[in-house]
């Protein structure tokens, strides 16, 4: 099932320059792997070589950080909004 993934500014050049891209998958892991497959420039930026989430990347499904849901196994259903954001400081 195709879902829309919102990219941060600094990852857009590697994905054709657009704000959102479409990728297939029924889990976050599948969506991200397919995303990197379609845009090889994103390799190593979103997922590490071992396939884990990049340390400084947060991925959200409908505003919830997937690290605190089921991580890469977090299910994705039709209409879900996925966004990728770099980790930044608050305080």
């Amino acid at each position: 099932m195709p879902v829309e993934v919102r990219l941060p500014t600094l990852l857009r050049p590697a994905a054709g320059g657009t704000t959102t891209v479409t990728a297939e998958g029924s889990t976050i892991g599948e969506v991200l792997r397919n995303l990197v497959g379609a845009h090889p420039g994103l390799a190593g930026q979103v997922l590490t070589e071992k396939g884990a989430l990049h340390r400084f990347v947060n991925v959200y499904v409908n505003d919830d950080d997937v690290r605190y849901l089921e991580q890469l196994e977090t299910p994705v259903t039709d209409g879900d909004e996925i966004s990728i954001l770099p980790a930044v400081a608050g305080g």
Binding site: T9, L10, Q45, H54, Y60, R67, Y68, L69, P86, G91
Partner: protein
């Protein structure tokens, strides 16, 4: 009522108030701990005092010592207050896009402001402070993001206060900045009752992320990793400025004048309340509304106020 010898003795022991009338689930109570009641006006007075006292114990501070700290405002204001009371000089690195009330309060308490680019957000302030501290090894860099005295202020203060006032707490919800409040209170409450859930609320990274040149400019506070933040948190959710302002306004309607991050925490609590059958949610109100009056958050059109908030750092 006793008379305090110093304003610093008034830090902590803040009141908690029931705001369950705003809960979307009648079987879920929501309580707010009002950290705006601290003398410097925010929860950060606690960590300011805790970090300065820890540095004093280590012999790092002497009369007239100079301290440097990156801050989006509240930690700086708390530190400025503590430094004034104790006779130290404070320099803060502050992003340009904080509300004018924050910089004014810092100046009232005698802090010197070093401005960092607004487009780089708190990350930029942290980087600049690290550079300035490296250039001035005689200055004391407390570094709230990596100082264990930050979460300790909450393990020894905020957490026990919440437990004393509300041992029936089932969920704790607070904003994620340095992560000190969430870690300190979270660890304390889970030690008392492992079933307590800890939810973090964060603002959307928004425009400040546009200033990042590459992912490795990203930043995770060292205390978050060192103190097991990823294992401690049960949920982390983004609340945008519009929703934050909506809930800040709802609080005002019941007579509670709180800052915008309190609205975000309350919106997170509402999301939590909708997802559980029954429970008692405690949230931290990091500060009062005073420093945000210039943002127009309570007056006028909600969309315009939300647009204005997007340009500012309010956590």
């Amino acid at each position: 009522m006793t008379v305090a010898r110093s304003v610093l003795d008034l830090i902590g022991n803040t009141p908690m108030v029931d705001v369950s009338s705003l809960s979307p689930n009648p079987a879920v109570r929501i309580l707010v701990k009002l950290e705006g009641q601290n003398p410097g006006g925010s929860v950060k007075d606690r960590i300011a005092l805790s970090m300065v006292e820890a540095a004093e114990k280590e012999g790092l501070l002497h009369p007239g010592s100079i301290l440097i700290e990156p801050t989006s405002g509240n930690t700086g204001i708390g530190l400025a207050l503590v430094c004034r009371a104790k006779g130290y000089h404070l320099k803060v690195v502050l992003p340009e896009n904080v509300s004018s009330e924050r910089s004014q309060l810092l100046e009232i308490f005698g802090a010197e402001i070093i401005w960092s680019p607004g487009s780089e957000g708190s990350n930029g302030a942290v980087r600049m402070a690290q550079q300035v501290a490296a250039d001035h090894p005689d200055w004391v860099f407390l570094y709230q993001y990596g100082n264990p005295a930050n979460p300790r202020a909450h393990t020894e203060g905020t957490g026990p206060e919440i437990w004393q006032d509300c041992p029936e707490v089932t969920h704790f919800v607070a904003g994620l900045g340095t992560s000190g409040t969430l870690l300190g209170v979270g660890h304390y409450l889970k030690d008392r009752n492992p079933d307590v859930e800890v939810w973090a609320v964060e603002p959307p990274a928004g425009e400040m992320v546009d200033g990042l040149r590459n992912l490795d400019d990203g930043y995770i506070p060292p205390i978050f990793t060192d103190l097991g933040g990823p294992d401690l948190l049960d949920r982390k959710t983004i609340i945008g400025p519009r929703l934050s302002i909506e809930w800040t306004r709802k609080l005002a309607e019941i007579g509670i004048f709180a800052g915008l991050s309190t609205g975000a925490a309350l919106a997170g609590a509402a999301r939590c309340a909708e997802s559980i059958e029954t429970g008692v949610i405690v949230i931290v109100s990091a500060d009062g509304g005073w420093k945000y009056l210039s943002s127009g958050a309570w007056t006028g059109d909600l969309d315009a106020a939300a647009e204005e908030a997007k340009k500012k750092i309010y956590f």
